[in-house]
């Protein structure tokens, strides 16, 4: 369970997140929707320790994440798939995957986890020893998600996975991910500008507007609310 309470972030004097409270139960996906500049990316960057909040708390199970370094937060079980996938393009596909769990003690399970990532996204296996820079957009997204999974996270933060992907490919990736979420009891926070695709896989959804939570409900009900869709989601 990932629980965010009263989280406030400011860049200089500008408030980017204003008392955001939300929770992501185990085995479910919570979508965070909103326009550009609503604070979506700031939210995930704060959870993973790249941005220091002014106040508020982020709890993963019994651990307070606020105040810890990004590397410590990753080691506590937060996998962050950053916007624009964030693969290390100078390394090979296999090296990128191995990076995911280098800090873990259990070397044997590390190998199993890498193998599982290849099973999850078979196109990666074929290209394991090529430079990650030669991958297509979809393959990069698979690599980034697969790499996060190698660390066996308990919470997964996905920042705009739909960016630059064809709808069919995205659906395929998200379908594989959904199965894992249930199986591994993952708490997934899915940041999306593309509300339609996010609501189709999410269990809950939160609408951010100018750093505030405007709306919070089940994904189904949000998708069915026409007035809301027009006002905040644009479809």
């Amino acid at each position: 369970m990932l629980e965010i309470t009263d989280l406030t972030v400011a860049y200089g004097g500008v408030i980017a997140l204003d008392s955001v409270t939300l929770s992501v139960p185990e085995g479910s996906i919570t979508a965070v929707l909103g326009a550009n500049g609503a604070g979506k990316t700031t939210l995930v960057r704060t959870i993973s320790g790249l941005v220091k909040p002014r106040q508020g708390s982020v709890m993963l199970g019994d651990h307070q994440l606020v105040g810890r370094s990004p590397e410590a937060i990753a080691r506590l079980g937060v996998g962050h798939v950053p916007e624009g996938h964030g693969i290390v393009s100078e390394l090979t596909v296999d090296e990128n995957l191995r990076l995911g769990g280098l800090w873990r003690r259990d070397r044997a399970d590390q190998r199993v986890a890498i193998d599982e990532a290849y099973e999850l996204f078979p196109p990666l296996r074929v290209r394991r020893s090529v430079s990650a820079s030669s991958l297509s957009g979809g393959e990069r997204q698979m690599l980034s998600i697969g790499r996060a999974m190698v660390a066996r996270p308990t919470a997964l933060l996905l920042d705009e996975p739909s960016l630059g992907l064809a709808g069919a490919l995205l659906a395929q990736i998200m379908q594989r991910l959904s199965a894992l979420v249930v199986e591994r009891r993952l708490s997934v926070l899915l940041i999306e500008q593309n509300a339609r695709s996010a609501l189709s896989v999410a269990d809950q959804a939160v609408v951010l507007s100018l750093g505030r939570v405007e709306m919070s409900d089940t994904a189904e009900r949000l998708a069915g609310d026409d007035a809301l869709r027009h006002a905040y989601l644009g479809f």
Partner: protein
């Protein structure tokens, strides 16, 4: 013809020393985007430490090991204490800092070790090998120099390419933010990278000192030649840096042999200026931009 062979072998030998410095500069550039102008002064300092150890009766090899270890420590401490605070600042801060370290080390050295020029011992003879009645244009120390740098390069290559520690260091250098999100302690990797680079520099210092002698600014020219080699190699590429540095060694050796020994240092500067004017991205880079 015999002269040409002599100049060529000399050039390669000196070039390998420049290559060690060039490689150290490239390692630090790749990890922290800083040109470490103090690389030569650090090597001077560790060579003085080695000389002190040897003067106290320890064998050459003890001094050798102590110098490399001292290099590792000086490099790591410099990164952790001095470089870390300026890493997130504009690049000019780091440039000035590394120049400051250079001046500081060259000022402290005469206080601790005396300012006069001192000779430095060799582990094996630096007189040309004689087989029967013919003298070969190469000395055991020249062979040792080339061999030591090659072994150091091979070990570094294996560490970076074949170990998980090396993978961590590469990830930290290529993309620090992503590395941190994957649980890699980037700060430690940078400290280690500076330590390894200074270790390589210390090796260059030990190999250069018998011929350039030991005094507080004895590595200044070696640094310029190594820097030239690294620039020719495009600063990003370890292979390019080594090739560039050996090229500089050869060019200087030919200038010194055919034109005049006094002109060799000038030749080094001319090469550097010409390369910076015509191809500042280096001969070995093909316009590949780093992806963010």
């Amino acid at each position: 013809m015999r002269l040409f062979v002599i100049y060529t072998l000399d050039g390669i030998t000196n070039g390998m020393v420049y290559a060690a410095i060039a490689l150290a500069l490239v390692m630090i550039w790749r990890a922290t985007r800083i040109i470490n102008y103090a690389q030569g002064a650090m090597a001077m300092f560790t060579t003085y430490i080695a000389l002190t150890v040897i003067r106290h009766g320890a064998p050459y090899w003890m001094g050798f090991v102590v110098a490399l270890a001292a290099g590792m420590v000086i490099g790591a401490v410099t990164e952790r204490v001095l470089v870390r605070p300026v890493e997130s600042r504009p690049p000019l801060n780091a440039v000035i800092l590394s120049l400051g370290v250079l001046i500081l080390l060259e000022a402290i050295a005469p206080m601790l070790f005396g300012g006069q020029t001192q000779s430095f011992p060799v582990p094996v003879s630096n007189i040309d090998i004689v087989v029967g009645t013919t003298s070969l244009p190469v000395s055991p120390f020249a062979l040792f120099t080339v061999g030591a740098v090659l072994v150091a390069m091979l070990l570094l290559f294996l560490v970076f390419q074949r170990t998980t520690l090396g993978l961590r260091m590469r990830a930290a250098a290529f993309n620090p933010e992503i590395a941190r999100l994957l649980g890699i302690r980037v700060g430690r990797m940078l400290t280690l990278g500076w330590g390894l680079a200074a270790l390589l520099g210390a090796l260059a210092g030990m190999l250069a000192a018998p011929s350039v002698y030991l005094y507080p600014s004895n590595m200044d020219e070696v640094l310029v030649f190594g820097f030239t080699g690294a620039i020719i190699g495009g600063l990003e590429s370890p292979v390019g840096a080594v090739a560039g540095a050996v090229g500089v060694g050869l060019a200087l050796s030919y200038v010194s042999g055919y034109v005049g020994a006094d002109l060799a240092p000038l030749g080094g500067f001319v090469i550097l200026i010409v390369v910076l004017m015509l191809r500042p991205q280096g001969l070995f880079s093909f316009g590949r931009q780093r992806q963010v």
